[in-house]
Amino acid sequence: MKKLSVIDNKRCTACQSCMFACSRRDGHGGLSNSCIGVKTAGGFEGDMTIVVCRACADPPCAKVCPTNALIPKSTGGVRLEKTKCIGCKLCQQTCVIDAVFWNKEENKPVICIQCGYCVGFCPHNVIKLVTK
């Protein structure tokens, strides 16, 4: 099973190409559908923080979902069944690394499925799909 991993956050230039790639999976521009985030820690003079889902073996986000919309995968992480999701945001509040992103337009979470599309658009080898 391959998991998306941050190899070296100090190589990150905050170009956001990964974020745009992630959102572009559904064929459109912008960022609402992105579930990878790059933010500065203490401004641009500090190192970048890259937030990605770690695909937990026993995902806390799934445990708190009141409608079982988040289904744990055998390989780690979760799969979202959108039609069951009521947009309560409990999953988002539970994830301590803030890797549950929110699509305001749909009022649903966006959670990484470890597809690695973003990796192809990182010009500086910050992220990688790693076999775990």
Binding site: A14, C15, F20, G29, G30, F44, F121
Partner: protein
């Protein structure tokens, strides 16, 4: 027609009455795309004729274009205002996260009107605008601290821009800049002073909406094509490897590097302050504007010791580019890279235009050297080439507005030379201090005739090198080429793609194809015509505000110092200006 898009929404913010409203300006965006094209129209609408640029009536306009957030390298925001530095059209561009944040907050443009009675900062979160009392942030001696506070208090980390002024803007120094994300700037022409006049400390904008395209498959293909070009082809290499500082050695070897107030065009210490040397010894890391894989922003690691305590140091990241290396380096005869970084950091702290600041200090140094001023005017400082300490002191005195001389320095080299003399070596184009290219007549003509006055604005220095160094070309032909290129650049800056990527985006057929994906129909021919039209719309504003070709003058020094094309002839420049008047006013 724009397909399900928010690009035509304009957010109007009145900082006097603390209110805001959103108006759909499809009329403007359909006709002028966005960016420069739309901002020019908003400026013509919003800026009453003949106003004082520091009066509440001067609007601040920010505009972005439809490709922002959709394709890489469309990462610039265009700011327009009446310039307090020149009294002419003020146009300044910056990257950072500004363009993406404005676009993804759901706007194509933002217009800021009026002036607040007390310091404020404004926070734009999607459809909501919050006015925050910034009284406690006003008067801090560095632009960095208020930014840090706004960053900690406001939402949207990773999806926002923070545009703010420093002490120079608060004091309305006419070349105060607005800083975006610490290392990018609306640098030239004094937008910071206009912020200051409105008691506007900063504006934070955040958003992350989606942007629909008409054909997802084609979109992904075209995106990949442009991305690959940006990352793998040669066209962007100059910008991501050494960055623009590569120009120090290039211009030095050519004999076009303005040095010691343009008394020389090459510098004995060029190697020490070159992009190559700074990269080797100081380059700490590189960062990027949002949605640009190039990462051209070079940050040097400046380590300084505290003199009062052993083994006590501070380390600062200082952004450097060719322009500050010229203005705060060669123009001041600074012989080592570390000293230039110290000066850049000072200018950054005050948030003033690095180019104007350096050229002004260079003029003052020559004035002092020629005994046209004394320590009476300089309040005890003895400016001299390579005297970094003196320059640090003088920058502080400009900010303090210590006496009449420093008040004059706070208004630029043309203003100061009208009072104290030294016009022959007051280096400016239309009151805006010169940039770092003394390559020949085309570079100077480019700045005089540009509809923007910024350093990146025209093809002049490249025409000097590609044409005039090779053969004789008539001034008329040079003006034709400059004006033609200006048309192309109006389109690029209406799309708000970075000029560094012009080799990728220069193809009007490609632009037409990209816009079609957004549901916007322009043929390549339409775009060419529109570029010329936007250029002439800008001159409408310039001429209205008193711009005249007859008043355009170059300092004697420009003619006296040999350029790579030889000495520049007055006759050549005059003929060019007469011809330019004829074709532009037509």
């Amino acid at each position: 027609m724009v397909y399900q898009d928010t690009i035509s929404r304009v957010l109007y913010i009145d900082v006097k009455d603390k209110k805001f409203w959103i108006t759909d300006r499809k009329d403007l965006f359909d006709k002028y795309i966005g960016g420069t094209g739309v901002a020019t129209q908003l400026l013509l609408e919003e800026c009453p004729m003949g106003i004082d640029p520091l009066s509440p009536d001067n609007p601040i306009i920010f505009a972005v274009g439809p490709l922002v957030g959709v394709f890489p390298l469309a990462s610039k925001t265009v700011a327009m205002f009446k310039s307090p530095h020149t009294g002419d059209l003020g146009e300044s561009h910056a990257g950072g996260r500004s363009a993406i944040a404005i676009r993804l907050a759901g706007y194509g443009a933002i217009v800021i009107k009026g002036a607040s009675d007390f310091p404020v900062y404004v926070s734009v979160q999607g459809n909501q605008v919050f006015f925050k009392d910034a009284t406690t942030l006003w008067g801090m001696n560095s632009s960095l601290t208020p930014a840090r506070i706004m960053r900690e208090r406001e939402k949207g980390a990773g999806y926002r821009t923070i545009l703010r002024i420093g002490p120079a803007g608060e004091k309305m120094i006419s070349y105060a800049c607005v800083v975006s994300e610490t290392y990018r700037h609306f640098g030239r022409l004094g937008l910071g002073a206009v912020f200051g006049s409105k008691k506007l400390k900063g504006i934070i904008i955040s958003g992350k909406q989606s942007l629909k395209v008409t054909d997802s498959k084609k979109y992904k293909q075209l995106y990949k094509q442009i991305y690959d070009q940006a990352v793998n082809s040669e066209v962007m290499r100059k910008y991501h490897d050494l960055g623009t500082p590569i120009n120090v050695m290039a211009l030095n070897n050519l004999g076009g590097l303005p040095t010691k107030n343009l008394q020389q065009t090459s510098f004995e210490q060029a190697k020490e302050i070159s992009g190559e040397n700074i990269a080797e010894k100081y380059l700490g890391k590189r960062i990027a504007c949002a949605h640009c894989p190039t990462a051209c922003v070079h940050l040097a690691n400046l380590r300084e010791s505290y003199k009062d305590s052993p083994y006590f140091y501070k380390t600062t990241y200082v952004g450097y580019d060719y322009e500050p290396l010229f203005s705060l380096g060669t123009m001041l005869g600074i012989e080592n890279a570390k000293d230039i970084l110290i000066l850049i950091e000072e200018v950054e702290k005050y948030a003033m235009d690095a180019m104007s600041a350096g050229v002004i200090l260079a003029w003052a140094t020559e004035m002092f050297e020629k005994k046209l001023i004394s320590t009476v005017e300089t309040a005890g400082v003895e400016p001299a080439w390579n005297n970094t300490k003196a320059y640090v002191d003088m920058l502080a005195k400009i900010i303090k507005q210590e006496n009449d001389f420093y008040k004059a320095l706070g208004r630029g080299v043309v203003y100061a030379s009208e009072i104290y003399g030294g016009k022959e070596f007051a280096l400016a184009h239309g009151k805006n201090e010169m940039s770092g290219y003394h390559t020949g007549p085309a570079s100077h003509l480019g700045y005089l005739l540009s509809a923007r006055h910024s350093h990146l604005c025209n093809a002049g220095y490249s025409l000097d090198q590609s044409l005039l160094m090779e053969k004789e070309v008539s001034p008329e032909e040079i003006v034709d080429k400059l004006v033609e290129e200006e048309g192309v650049r109006q389109i690029l800056s209406s799309l708000v793609v970075c000029f560094f990527s012009r080799a990728i985006y220069k193809d009007m057929n490609l632009i037409s194809e990209l816009l079609a994906l957004m549901g916007i129909k322009y043929s390549a021919e339409d775009l060419k015509r529109l570029g010329r039209e936007i250029h002439s719309e800008k001159f409408k504003f310039k001429l209205r505000e008193g711009f005249s070709f007859e008043n355009l003058k170059l300092a004697d020094r420009v003619y006296e110092t040999k350029a790579p094309t030889g000495y520049i002839s007055r006759d050549y420049i005059e003929r060019a200006l007469i011809y330019a008047k004829k074709i532009i006013e037509k």
